[in-house]
Amino acid sequence: MRWMWIDRFLEFKRGKRAVAIKCVALTEEQIDNYCPGYPHMPNSLIVEGMAQTGGLLAGEVNQFLERVVLAKIGKVVFHDVARPGDTLRYTAEIQDLKPDGCILHVSSHIGDKLQAEVEMVLAHLDQRFEGVDLFEPADFLRMLRLFGVYDVGIDEQGQPLTPPPHMLAAEHAFNLTAP
């Protein structure tokens, strides 16, 4: 199982804002096992989904060449629990973007109701983590396509986003060697 805690992007505006959804289903192990008798989505995994929404938004700004990691949760408030059948809608907005990281505000809604809100700091791994690769580029691009980033994503001019050249090259090389 991949560590994917969002299902699809609905909106993706380069360097500004992204909206992703996560459908909560009773068939998911973590829903049933986390708190037996009271099935709900663990808050920690909701935060992970919010961080993935924001992390991909932040990473795209630099063509996914920076290695973006969740560094700090400044503040988090949960207003409600997410139950099977709910669809969580995560909205990430970049507050500040610097060479060494990014500050984001991310909210989670169920319908019109605010479910959670988080202030988070994402960091770019620096030279101390030389040689540490978080993703293989072809695999990463497959995930971005699966999330619909290139179906809904737009750049600063409102033009459709396209995958970065290094990822397309890796995908091409992978396809050539695939059985």
Binding site: A71, G74, K75, Q95, D96, K98, G101, V121, A123
Partner: protein
């Protein structure tokens, strides 16, 4: 009109309380940001963001924490910052009181240098340059 010293301190205090999750009364002028308030490296990104927003200023990270000097072999020998390194830090951080650090310039002790007062002086200089 530039903010008064008290206004600067209160805004800096708010930024530190929000970024570090400490209590108001823990943030005193002489408190060291890393040693007393427990800030870690990544917290400075958060602190800088809050100060920039609160005061309408821009803060290059290298002006607040000269990590590149402290990790540069040209400025560090046997775990201590050389006189050239001290001079570079003074040039970068004219707002900081380096007298204690100069007496024993061990790199690992640098974190205990920057105080809330230093941060206030730094912000005041940035507000004046605005």
């Amino acid at each position: 009109m530039p903010p008064s010293n008290e206004e600067v301190f209160e805004k800096v205090r708010t930024a530190l309380v929000d970024a570090l999750g400490v209590d108001d009364d823990e943030v005193q002028p002489e408190s060291t940001i890393i040693g007393d308030l427990g800030a870690e490296s990544i917290d400075f990104l958060d602190i800088v963001f809050r100060l920039e927003k609160s005061f309408g200023i821009e803060i290059p990270r290298s002006e607040l924490t000269p990590e590149d000097v402290l990790t540069n072999p040209a400025y560090v020998q046997d775990g201590k910052v050389t006189p050239e390194g001290i001079a570079e830090i003074k040039r970068r951080m004219p707002f900081a009181d380096l007298s204690k650090f100069e007496a024993n310039p061990v790199v690992t002790e640098f974190g205990n240098l920057l105080t809330v007062n230093d941060l206030c002086r730094f912000v005041e200089s940035k507000v004046q340059d605005r």
